[in-house]
């Protein structure tokens, strides 16, 4: 066997081969140093962001109780389909499945996806960019069957989640709606204003009524469920859970039994008068000794439950397009001339100044020459020789033209403003309107003509340019009843925590002592208590066993051309009143005694358990 020379590779090529491997390995090492050591923090942050997610847990809003502790607003659980945009793989396919499951048109889901929280997105990519973790609510109040179906499909629907959410529940639907208001998703503008107070873009906030005014008590503190999720967006484990803190409850001054009576009596009374014609109306019942609102209703009302889960465009359009505007709170925002109910003010002023003595006999011809302008009493005619109390019971315009003339514009205005007219009462409800008491400057500005001395004769009987709300008239009446103390009307008595311990009490607040004499007020009450007597304007409306005081009002509209707006203020029982009530029916036609007074009577009969 001969030996052959050993094989030898070219050293240059060997060097090149080894160099090639070395360079490649060094490139890998360099890259690993860059990824792991130089930029490791960034990648670790990305890994954390990948897996850690904070799922906000909405806090149940506080419960609202009436004065006796009856639950009038609460929460109920609702199962919703929520979309977490960043986890969606194929939005078209997923929405198709969700639409089928919920039996909703796909177009509606797209609409909810792209237009929510007051923001309009052009496409889904924008939603992913701006709201990666949403959640965007696609559907609410799922049935058990729908939930089961979605649970089955969970793996095919990445980013689609079924969550239980507390939803505001108003068990009495429309009743009390103008007190409670409603809640809704925070809008972008609201969020911009409120984010400093700890609100988040997914919050449900009070939009109107008590829900809005007391939102910071009612909302509670949202909790958070910090979870690790896997690549499919499924929760792998819970890292930490902060339970939500439910909102504080409110104890109202409302008497729910009375509220229900009032709502029904108002609707019934309007129907009884108008038949197929519909009118707006309002009733305010106040505790004359504290200013606490016992009942407050505006008709037509609305169902706040419609807003609790984002309201459909159709439903919202219905509320907006109804000419009677159900969302409009007439009790605190409808300011109209008050008709003769204002004689409570004129009368107290006339006896206080005094421009008339209690038993002074005044001749009422049924008309009065106010500085050259002849004012006629169309309704009552002349009473002949009369005194203050019968004239008030009969609502004699002739008598009160004289009183107004004796007072003059300046003094009448002073007393009107002292009784709280032309100013916000400060009730704890949003949207109050201050009404109006005309001044010379106002008259020049609005009509181009100065206030004439003769204008006092129309203002003094609640006509002309004066305007007041039902709330203001109930408050005037309260002052008349309680001896001249004008309280700030309020709806909330106290704030309570979860254990129903009182954490804050709202004591009655006095706006002012009205500068009228007790005797004057007693005389006004005397006149009002005879309103159902023979010769009184509400004769025939007396309730057997329940003497009550009242004053009708009939205000001309459109300068006498339109249908009358009718008013009635009442208090009961006459001797020791526990409530002061103002009833208002907007442009109902007829007289206060025909439209508004029967509603008040109906309320009193039911509330005091009297025979009708």
């Amino acid at each position: 066997m001969r030996q052959r020379a050993r094989f030898r590779a070219s050293p240059w090529r060997l060097a090149g081969f080894i160099a090639g491997m070395t360079i490649a390995l060094l490139a890998v090492v360099a890259r690993l140093i860059s990824v792991q050591l130089v930029h490791g923090d960034q990648y670790r942050a990305a890994a954390t962001a990948n897996q850690v997610r904070l799922i906000p847990v909405a806090a149940p809003r506080g419960i609202i109780f009436d004065r006796s502790g009856k639950v009038v607003v609460r929460n109920r659980p609702s199962f919703v389909v929520a979309l977490i945009p960043s986890e969606v793989k194929d939005i078209r396919a997923e929405l198709e499945v969700v639409a089928q499951t919920l039996d909703l048109p796909q177009a509606l889901l797209w609409d909810r996806l792209l237009h929510h929280h007051g923001v309009n997105y052009r496409n889904f990519d924008e939603v992913v960019t701006y709201e990666p973790y949403g959640p965007v609510i696609l559907g609410s109040d799922l049935s058990v069957k729908q939930m089961a179906r979605l649970a089955e499909l969970k793996n095919d629907l990445p980013g689609v989640d079924v969550q239980a959410q507390p939803v505001r529940d108003y068990p009495y639907r429309g009743e009390g709606s103008h007190v409670f208001g409603y809640v809704g998703q925070i809008t972008e503008d609201e969020y911009a204003q409120l984010k400093m107070e700890g609100y988040t873009p997914n919050d449900v906030i009070g939009k109107d009524g008590l829900e809005a005014v007391y939102d910071r008590y009612l909302r509670g503190v949202p909790g958070g469920d910090q979870v690790a999720v896997d690549a499919q967006g499924q929760v792998a484990r819970h890292l930490s859970y902060r339970p939500p803190i439910p909102g504080n409850g409110l104890i109202l001054t409302l008497d729910w039994r009375l509220q229900e009576i009032v709502e029904r009596a108002l609707a019934k009374g309007i129907r009884a008068w108008g038949g197929r014609r519909r009118f707006g109306g309002a009733v305010v019942v106040e505790d004359p000794w504290t200013g606490g609102i016992l009942a407050l209703a505006s008709s037509p009302n609305f169902d706040p439950n419609d807003f609790a889960i984002s309201i459909s465009a159709k439903r919202y359009a219905y509320y907006l397009n109804d000419p009677l505007r159900p969302l409009y709170n007439r009790a605190i925002a409808a300011a109209t001339p008050t008709g003769s109910t204002f004689k409570m003010v004129t009368g107290s002023a006339a006896l206080t100044v005094p421009v008339v003595k209690l038993h002074e006999v005044v001749y009422d011809s049924g008309a009065w020459n106010c500085g050259g302008a002849l004012f006629r009493d169309i309704a009552a005619g002349g009473l002949g020789a009369t005194t203050f109390v019968p004239a008030l019971a009969a609502s004699s315009d002739g008598f009160f033209y004289q009183m107004s003339w004796r007072l003059g514009n300046e003094r009448l205005r002073k007393y009107a403003l002292a009784f709280g007219l032309g100013a916000l009462s400060g009730i704890d409800l949003p949207g109050e309107y201050p009404g109006n008491w005309p001044t010379n400057a106002w008259s020049l500005k609005v009509t181009g003509l100065p206030l004439e001395p003769s204008d006092v004769c129309s203002l003094g009987i609640g006509q002309g340019a004066m305007q007041a709300t039902p709330l203001q008239m109930a408050n005037v009446e309260s002052a008349v009843i309680n001896g001249g103390t004008l309280y700030r009307p309020h709806v909330v008595h106290a704030v309570v925590d979860q254990a129903n311990r009182i954490v804050k009490t709202f004591e009655p607040q006095v706006i002012r002592e009205v500068p009228v004499t007790k005797a004057a007020l007693a005389a006004v009450r005397d006149g009002m208590s005879r309103v159902t007597d023979p010769g009184g304007t509400a004769y025939g409306l007396a309730i057997e066993g329940l003497p009550f005081g009242g004053k009708t009002g009939t205000a001309e509209t459109a300068g006498g051309a339109g249908p009358n707006t009718t008013w009635f203020v009442a208090y009961a029982p006459a001797k020791h009143p526990v409530l002061a009530m103002a009833v208002f029916v907007d442009r109902s036609g007829g007289y206060g005694a025909q439209v508004a007074a029967p509603i008040a009577r109906d309320v009193l009969v039911q509330y005091f358990h009297m025979k009708p």
Partner: protein, 374 residues
């Protein structure tokens, strides 16, 4: 005549320790990685045990190959090549689809991935063919080129872009040393580039393969789609930082953000859970293996064994670089297993067989060579 004693003083003296220690230590690390990667999968407690069985089988085959005279491979090269082609063709006829690709065939209870041993068989076949003549002229190259192209196309059709690239790397490395004139090698490189351009631009690649190549060029074009794996892998590797998140503690791995973490992305698991230090240990073991491989190349007595050792070293090195590179975004995602680490029986057995051949080449460095065999 060699003694039948399996373990002898001479054997131990002639043993290439870097190859042996490097491969077995890397396999041990691999078992920890696969155990952790499988924690939250359906085959949670079976994958690493199966892999251990394959590793033991592979080590046995390694020792077997280390005592088989490498010259036998040259003699049976045509048969190995034929077997190889038959197996690759069989895949097309007997589909066993996984992940939309046909890569496996069942032989009795065993499911074999023929493209893994195919790499080794081709390394042998190419080395054998390159010894048939001196290849003074470029035109003489048609046989090894054709012989490589046929299985390469079959594997590309599976589709398995990664293995095709490995075969091309083996061919290139063996031609680098096998061609007499460096100009011929450069012409070959030019032709290879032209062919690659054609393949990429034609319909030859499946859409997902093209997408992977495009995403490699710009991972941000599709963060949730094809680029998703790459981005999640990079995040996981970076998440490891110096010392890693700890065994079983890699969030990217355990929460399944990183796909295929026991196979293609096993390195990612190692990097996330054991950090840069763990990575350095593995790379050190790899360098040890490559050093052992180069020692075998230098020890090669003849042209065939040198070219075969070259092909094997190139194969292992290419696997390491391309697999690690893909997890950190410097190589396209191709699904090449990480040697001794990635879960997969065919791959680990092939790797150990390759080490066994290198061991034999190294062991024979001082033996005489009969002229008749050259």
């Amino acid at each position: 005549m060699a003694t039948l004693t399996f373990v002898s003083r001479r054997r131990i003296r002639e043993l290439n320790w870097p190859l042996l220690v490097g491969s077995i230590a890397a396999t041990a690390i691999g078992l920890f990685v696969i155990q952790s990667a499988g924690l939250h999968t359906a085959e949670a407690h079976t994958a690493y045990r199966k892999q251990a069985v394959y590793a033991v089988l592979g080590i046995g085959i390694m020792f077997g190959c280390s005592v088989v005279d490498y010259r036998i491979w040259r003699r049976i090269a045509p048969y190995l090549y034929g077997l190889n082609l038959a197996a690759l063709l069989a895949i097309l006829v007997l589909p066993h689809t996984s992940h939309g690709a046909q890569r496996w065939i069942a032989i009795g209870p065993l499911i074999v991935q023929p493209s893994e041993p195919a790499k080794l068989f081709l390394a042998i076949a190419i080395a054998a063919m390159l010894c048939r003549s001196d290849y003074r002229k470029l035109t003489d190259m048609w046989l090894p080129l054709l012989a490589t192209a046929v299985p390469a196309i079959l594997i590309l059709k599976q589709p398995d872009l990664g293995t095709t690239l490995v075969i091309m790397a083996i061919l290139t490395a063996e031609l680098y040393f096998g061609l007499r004139r460096i100009e011929d090698f450069l012409i070959y490189i030019g032709g290879l580039a032209a062919a690659a351009t054609y393949v990429v631009s034609s319909h030859f690649l499946k859409p997902f393969q093209k997408a992977r190549l495009l995403v490699f060029l710009n991972p941000k074009i599709d963060p949730q789609g094809v680029g998703y794996s790459l981005n999640q892998s990079k995040i996981a590797v970076g998440n490891g930082q110096w010392i890693g998140r700890g065994w079983h503690q890699g969030t990217q791995t355990q929460l399944n953000f990183v796909p295929e973490h026991a196979t293609d992305f096993a390195f990612t698991v190692l990097a996330e859970e054991f950090g840069f230090l763990g990575v350095v240990v593995l790379l050190a073991l790899y360098v040890t293996i490559l050093v052992g491989g180069v020692q075998a190349m230098l020890a090669a007595r003849d042209r065939f064994s040198f070219l075969l050792a070259t092909g094997i070293v190139a194969m292992l090195c290419f696997h390491m670089i391309v697999n690690i590179g893909m997890t950190i975004g410097i190589m396209p995602i191709t699904g090449i297993p990480l040697p001794f680490i990635s879960y997969g029986g065919s791959a680990i057995v092939t790797d150990f067989a390759a080490i066994g051949i290198l061991l034999n080449i190294y062991a024979q460095k001082d033996r005489l060579i009969a002229r008749s065999e050259e």
